[in-house]
Amino acid sequence: MLIEALKNHWHARQMTKRSWCDWDYLVLDIETTGLDAKQDKIVSFGWVCVQNGTIDLDSARHIVLEGAEIGESVGIHMITDSDVALLGKKQESVLRYLRQLLRKRILVMHHGPMELGFLKQAWQEAALPAFSVSWLDTLAIERTKANRNQQPIVEGGFRLGESRKRYGLPDYDGHDALTDALATAELLLAQAAYQGVDCRLHDLNQMGGGRTRLVSRLSL
């Protein structure tokens, strides 16, 4: 058992030394009814996958959850009750789908604590097998980079749009989950490109990555 674990650990360490392109990623953005993972609900998921260092647009998904209470947040997200009625999916089935995709991919978010908080909460309430997910946070990467370069960044400078500007990425008007997921994916590509041709996952991970265990409260 121990040897097996050590072997896995060693294997994982070796893997992080490979080029970041050798890994697959799922870049996720979720829209919620508010900021508190305990009280607020997920309204929609948007994601897009990255492989061989390029964004695979066919993998893009935009899923609006069934029965999400929307109310005040409509102004920000532009999702209406009719969208939910028309496209609504069950949260649990979406999480199942997501889990399947994430088994072989690294989760990428801009400002991870928010997405991770909601995912953890959602997992607790769902009857899903526990699992550990490795993640990268493009905001954390951006912050580390600024610190290393001793470049003070003004307030709000780490927001998605502002971060993108530093890499010459275009302005995107929309702020639905899918647009933000795509925008984050492009940011990831740019950040990796700026690390140089030999950018390793290890480098990105050190700048803003981690591993989180998602557990269900309902024992399975």
């Binding site: 897009v48 061989n52 260092g53 390029t54 964004i55 695979d56 647009l57 066919d58 893009a60 998904r61 935009h62 370069n149 001793q150 470049q151 003004v154 890499y167 010459g168 990425l169 275009p170 995107y172 008007d173 929309g174 639905d176 899918l178 647009t179 795509l182 925008a183 994916a185 492009e186 590509l189 740019a190 490109a193 700026y194």
Partner: protein, 621 residues
Amino acid sequence: MAALDIPEVQKFMASVPPFSSLELAQRAQLLHGVSMLYVRQGQTMTLEGDSATVHLIRRGACEIRTPKGGLVDQIADGECFGVFSVMSQNADGLQVVAMEDSLFYRFEKARFLDALASNEAFGLFFEHTQHNRLRKLSRRQNNELSSPAFQLSMPVTQIMTRQLIQASPDETVQAIAMRMTDARVSSILVLEQGRLLGIVTDRDLRSRILALGGSANSLVADVMTESPRTLSPDALVMEAQTLMSESNVHHLPIVDDELKVVGMLTAADLLRHQELSPLLLMNQIHRQQSVESLAQVCKQWPTLIINLVVTDMKPADIGKVLATLSDSLIKRLIELAQQQFGPAPMAFQFLVFGSQARRDQSLGSDQDNGLMLEREPTNDESAYFTALSEFVCQGLALCGVRLCPGNIMASNLKWRMTKAGWQQMFSTWIKSSSPNALLNASIFFDIRCVYGDDAAVDELLEGMQQEIEKNSLFLATLTRSALAAKPPLGFFRSFVLESSGEHKNQLDLKHQGLALINDLARLYGLSCRTYRVGTLERIEQAIREKRMSVDTAGNLMDAWEQLNELRLETQSVSWQTSGKASAYLDPTRLSPLERKHLKTTFSIISEVQDVAQQRFLRGYS
């Protein structure tokens, strides 16, 4: 779910020809299997393997080059590359170099071929692109020129340093000296809330601290050079060079429109990129001690222009390079004149008009210039300026800038006036209601100060703008004069060619094409509150001040670029074959597609003329 369901992808595809012309279903088909990639500036992509397919630039700029490094094309947002590799296996081994950090859509080869086959307009568009590049490629291969000229014409953004080392004004010099040493740089930018306050260089630390026995705890604010000279990101290497040598600085922060520092350019950066550039004509001009040796140096001028054309520099940039050169030439001639005749008895400005003012000279442009004097000269003083301007104008002629046939030159007493004199002159033109009077005066409205303090000229221009605003009739008269000439397009969209003489069956690209656009731009430019002198700048200003719709303006700018490119090519060919820089073109020498393009260009001019008539002549005609 497909890529087309991503709003930003959908929006972009719908805005870019020829993708916009595809039907929704076709577009969705094409977008299957699309991926996006990001490439950093300077990186080269060989169109092999996975990359041997069509790429669309979402944001960025690239150059297409031959394996030997020859430039084939420059492309940016909304343009494609890789068409060759799909259509003809990229037999020429073209490479793509990112000139900016760039984001691309990469299409699946099979989908792209399907789209080519199923939509004729779509296919035609790429055939045209391919044809154009082939033409440029063959021209490239026929002209084995190294690319010194290209060095000068590169934008500063290509050689500047983007890693900025920064300090705030309340730091100590010791702190920043350590940071500079760590980063191994010779200068540091002083910023406050992102705004550039000043710069501290090695030299400053030496001369303002060490040499004076200053303290290591001195504040940056006390040592820095305040508001240093800067350049905008679209400046050319050549301009940077001029600015550095003229103001004797070695560090130029590159600052964008929003006053944000985007890079730093040092003399060392310039030096590194100059190895291939034996012909820094400009430096040579600065060094010459006599008119004769200047004339000798300027013999390289036509070759330089042809080089610029061959390396496919944009016409607007060629104009900039030539203007910088002619300006230096004039300045050098004035310096030489003063060595001969002594210092000037009063302050004066050397003004240029017409194409040099607009910065769109080409081969064989002639000179149009004048002087603005600080006050009425005495007889002796007048004699001094006669000698000086005679020296400069004849000097220019010896250097290949022809004397003005209309005698609009500083050597003509009539065009040496005080500011009041010039004001009076402009006032007369502005109040005149005869289009004929304006026809001859219009080049004076393209005016730029090349020597002397330009504040006085700015005042003159401000006064002129105000006077124009008060005399609404002026713009109407100017419109009549601008619309007197029509593009050479017949009723059935055939070219109207010269019917007799030396240029029988040819088109005059300059007088029947470009001049009309310059006239329109001048008209719109003068209707704006802010004075601009270049044709493209005037059109841009007209957009900003909402005198012209973005579409119309965009079309007109494209038309100008296209005609200018064609003119420069025609002139280069004519210069190489006959020694004359003729801008006459035999349309049968163009491919059918090029002819079609040229006709469209002329019809755009016609359309904008109609719009101008509506705007400025309503109620007067």
